[in-house]
């Protein structure tokens, strides 16, 4: 628990950091939708290249995000493995041709098409990960609520998000304290006990945590009510910044990427680029 991997805001002096939260949010949404939709290898290569360039510009070092990156790699590897185990012939089906390279055992042959499918699948994740990580690493959390509100999300929901960000460290500390106290009393959550016992034991930690959270909700909402939260239809944000020239350029880039992505992907009525036919 002490060393859980959490990516947080890294203050640096870079072009990406200078952009307003709104710009980054729009960019991030356009980017993740674009990579979600496309399966076209050519588009993915370009997107991957661009996301690496953006990562370079941001001055966030690989070292800063090594833990998170490690998790992402594990996730992608496991996902690929599962796909192969369940459907070793999926690529053949998609690309409508079959080039066997070699056979492992039984139905598990390795085909060029399957490998190509795995490559595309991996690239899809690889394109979005740098941008998503940068979004978290380069956006000041206090600006985040303002940017949500500026793209039309109700400010109440924006406020919920910033409350969540504000209270994550508190809840975490509390969880840690409670779990240590309960462990001192002999309640164990590690692999030594049976699963059912572990689940029951987890209630011993969760119950104080949930009850204190409910109290906290009471306190915070009373405080907000006293200060007249939610009285007006609109709300201003201290951390909101004006859009600069670079912001418009970044948004323009996002729009171009998005439109190009959609056009190329749906041009011939198929989401795939098929080099085998």
């Amino acid at each position: 628990m002490a060393n859980i991997a959490i990516l947080s805001y890294l203050k640096r002096d870079s072009l990406v950091h200078e952009l307003t939260g709104t710009t980054k949010l729009i960019f991030f949404i356009a980017w993740s939708v674009a990579t979600m939709v496309t399966y076209d290898t050519r588009v993915l290569v370009v997107l991957l290249f661009l996301s690496i360039v953006i990562f370079k510009i941001s001055k966030v070092r690989l070292y800063d995000i090594r833990i998170v990156l490690g998790l992402a790699v594990i996730f992608v590897v496991l996902n690929n493995l599962f796909v192969y185990l369940f459907a070793p012939e999926y690529g053949v089906e998609l690309y409508e041709s079959r080039t066997v390279l070699f056979t492992i055992a039984g139905p598990y042959t390795v085909t060029l098409q399957q490998l190509f499918y795995h490559l595309n699948m991996t690239m899809k994740v690889a394109c979005v990960v740098p941008v998503a990580l940068l979004f978290i690493a380069c956006t000041d959390p206090s600006e985040f609520a303002a940017s949500l509100a500026s793209i039309g999300v109700s400010y109440r929901i924006g406020y919920s998000v910033s409350l969540a960000l504000r209270y994550i460290p508190d809840v975490q500390r509390e969880y840690h304290n409670i779990s240590q106290a309960q462990q001192a009393r002999g309640i164990d959550l590690s692999g030594k006990d049976k699963v059912l016992t572990r689940m029951k034991n987890s209630v011993a930690i969760l119950l104080p945590l949930v009850l204190s959270s409910l109290n906290r909700i009471e306190t915070v909402s009373n405080a907000m009510e006293l200060r007249g939260f939610g009285k007006d239809k609109k709300r201003t944000w201290y951390s909101q910044r004006k859009m600069q020239r670079n912001d418009w350029l970044a948004i323009a880039l996002a729009v171009v990427v998005f439109v190009a992505d959609m056009t190329i992907t749906f041009w011939d009525g198929s989401r795939y680029y098929n080099p085998f036919l």
Partner: protein, 180 residues
């Protein structure tokens, strides 16, 4: 849309923080690559106490933060998490936990969570996965069912225990009976 009350706004925020923290601590199980997801038990309890909109947004915000700080958002599962909160909240609507908890309410809570998890992990998540990521059907449904069953068991046991314990504290506060 009806305006969210101040209390709902705060409940979403702190609920999402809880969801996030519990998502980060994983309790190992004997089956590799599956962990007990305690966050769904808490999401279910909050959805029961505060209603469907709060439940939905806790799932959505909590899961998005969780994914975005680990390996980039996997939207189909995020939407499924939101769906779980929504369904549990709708089915358990107007169930006043503060006025005591009887077997009928416990059954209703569990029916709600079973329906929610089955639909979310057996239908919503795999369908969106096909739509968005085009992964093979067999893998998605196997994965979805595994997650669904493990979540149903976790929410069923942990969520119910939490709810029972919570109801006890509420009743005790208002009662003059010295014996428990």
């Amino acid at each position: 849309m009806k305006k969210l009350s101040v209390k709902s706004v705060v409940a979403i925020g702190i609920g999402a923080a809880l969801f996030f923290v519990l998502g980060k601590v994983s309790i190992p199980t004997p089956v590799p690559n599956t962990v007990i997801s305690l966050q769904y038990a808490v999401e279910a309890v909050f959805a029961t106490l505060f209603g469907p909109i709060v439940g939905m947004l806790i799932g959505f915000i909590g899961h998005t933060l969780l994914d975005a700080t680990s390996y980039g958002p996997w939207w189909s599962w995020i939407i499924a998490s939101a769906f779980v909160g929504l369904v549990i909240g709708v089915v358990t609507m107007k169930m006043e936990i503060g006025e005591g908890l009887d077997t009928k309410k416990i059954v209703r809570f569990n029916v709600a969570q079973v329906i929610a998890h089955l639909l979310a992990w057996g239908l919503v998540a795999p369908c969106l996965d096909i739509l968005i990521y085009k992964e093979p059907l067999e893998k998605l449904f196997a994965q979805g069912m595994m997650a669904g069953i493990s979540n149903i068991i976790t929410t069923g046991i942990v969520g119910t225990l939490l709810l029972v314990a919570y109801a006890k504290t509420v009743v005790r506060r208002g009662s003059l009976n010295k014996e428990d």
